[in-house]
């Protein structure tokens, strides 16, 4: 690990000011991704600004929804009664991710900003446009079984690893920073030619909270994750779904996919197919085909297209069964 200085911020203003004091500085919250990547020399910050003591640890229920402080730990969020009752997809997504120990450590904002698990990003001896812009991408022709099939470019096919963000994408979460609010649908950037830019956040912009808008559709919501082992593993494919039925007809629906895309992936295409149709397996299959229509497979990950379709069909089936 490269040497660094560490400073405990006592206020949001102090945190932002400290971050601006060095070119290569980062906010430090749960640290579960950051320390891991610093040990690998993938990240080499000179300054860590500890934001854990800032007053962003509350979950507040309002009529407009739930406001989740940036520092709320994953385990506390998954366990909160308002989340479990009103937004079960969030709780399920969190509980399917990482491990109990990591969920006790990891923060809400940190989850939004977690880095890809791409083996070439994590290996400083490999070429990676995300880690070192312009160096190339060894994943394109390498072992790319775990890589993305949606939202990719010729510069990067790294999968976004989060479960929580997929659920948040389905619920139209709104990210609050100290100076603006950003709908989660506008928060992530497709890799394109600049995979090193992952979100619209500016240098030194500090996430303070994530708002989940109240919506009755969220009460009937579900997260289904498919992976190589039963626990403590990243998704090969996952689906966050929410819907409202009138009789057997789908009157409102939300679909987001994980494990298959470069960003948490909202599928308006699947939603358009499902809207106004009967909640049947045939409809779900048609929606899944629409969701994956734009998929671009590589040598080892073509199986993900079929897997993601089946995952979405199964998630919708479980929700309406």
């Amino acid at each position: 690990m490269h040497p660094f200085s560490f400073i405990e911020a006592e206020s949001p203003e102090a945190a932002i000011e400290a971050l601006g004091s060095r070119p290569n500085s980062v906010f430090f919250a749960g640290g579960t991704t950051l320390i891991d990547l610093m040990k690998l020399d993938v990240l080499t910050p000179q300054l860590l600004v500890d934001v854990n003591h800032l007053p962003f640890s509350a979950i507040t229920e309002t009529t407009a929804g739930v406001m989740i402080g940036a520092n709320v730990r994953n385990s506390d969020l998954a366990h909160h009664p308002a989340i479990r009752d009103r937004f079960p997809v969030l709780s399920e997504a969190l509980l399917s991710g990482a491990s109990a120990q990591l969920r006790n450590m990891a923060s809400t904002a940190g989850n939004l900003l977690q880095r890809t698990r791409c083996g070439y990003f994590r290996d400083v001896n490999a070429r990676c446009n995300k880690r070192q812009p312009g160096s190339g991408c060894d994943a394109l022709t390498g072992v790319n079984r775990s890589h993305a099939v949606l939202g990719t470019s010729d510069h990067c096919i790294a999968t976004h690893p989060s479960d929580l963000c997929v659920a948040m994408m389905a619920l139209d979460a709104v990210i609050h920073t100290e100076k603006r609010t950003i709908p989660i649908g506008d928060f992530y950037l497709l890799p394109g030619a600049t995979p090193e830019r992952e979100t619209v956040l500016e240098k030194g912009e500090l996430i303070t909270a994530v708002q989940i808008p109240d919506d009755p559709i969220a009460r009937r919501s579900h997260y289904l994750k498919v992976r190589d082992r039963a626990s403590y593993e990243f998704a090969l494919a996952s689906a966050a779904v929410a819907l409202e039925l009138s009789g057997d007809t789908i009157v409102r629906v939300r679909v987001a996919l994980g494990g298959v895309a470069t960003i948490p992936w909202r599928s308006k295409e699947a939603e358009a197919v499902l809207h106004g149709k009967p909640a049947t397996i045939a409809t779900f299959r048609e929606a899944a085909d629409a969701a994956l229509a734009g998929a671009v497979p590589r040598e080892h990950n073509a199986f993900k297209i079929q897997l993601a379709k089946r995952t979405l069909v199964e998630a919708l089936y479980e929700l309406t069964d």
Partner: protein
């Protein structure tokens, strides 16, 4: 604010040694460490508390599990400097004199180990796991997250899921599960 000094906005140098005060097993300990020192290395290399083990050092095996403010945490992915003011409990802090914690006794009674390397992490994790269950925390295998099982009703499936971070290369899992169930019944008997 801290003992760490930043020498103004233009500073580019980093701090090599910082003073950190940690509360470990109820005692205040003062360390002079490199900011890079993980909590695990602070315990093992600076405080001679070698019960917490370094298995993978990257958050995959659970052998380094300790409690921070009563919650199970991976000490290998924690920086010591970030834990000023926190109450840290290691496996060395569980017993009261010669009187072992019920989870420790249960691991012995059930032979919940072979080589023993993962055992401190298993024990710390198991204690944290039962505490979480007592607080009504659901898990991935809980059918309805709004209705978590009581700690006394945790199924084998629930225990396995909740302990999935703790790897045992010897494969002592059946006896580890037995030990957790025994410790739970001992604790229930005390209530």
């Amino acid at each position: 604010m801290s003992d760490t000094v930043i020498s103004g906005p233009q500073a580019t140098a980093v701090d090599f040694i910082v003073r950190v005060q940690l509360n470990i097993n109820g005692e205040e300990r003062i360390l002079h460490i490199d900011p890079r020192t993980t909590l695990l290395d602070a315990l093992r290399e600076h405080l001679a508390l070698t019960g917490s083990k370094k298995g993978c050092d990257q958050g995959q095996c659970g052998a380094c599990t300790v409690h921070v403010n009563g919650r199970r945490t991976l000490s290998c992915l924690s920086l010591a400097i970030a834990h000023r003011g926190d109450e840290i409990t290691t496996v060395e802090g569980l017993s009261q004199g010669d009187s072992l914690h019920p989870m420790q006794s249960a691991f012995i009674a059930c032979d919940g180990l072979q080589c023993g390397y993962c055992t401190p992490g298993q024990i710390m994790s198991a204690i944290g796991m039962l505490q979480e269950a007592a607080e009504g925390v659901p898990s991935h295998v809980t059918p309805d997250v709004s209705q978590p099982p009581a700690a006394d009703d945790l199924s084998l499936e629930e225990i396995r899921e909740r302990m999935s971070e703790n790897i045992c290369r010897c494969g002592a899992y059946p006896n580890i599960i037995d030990a957790i169930q025994l410790a739970r019944s001992i604790q229930r008997g005390r209530r």
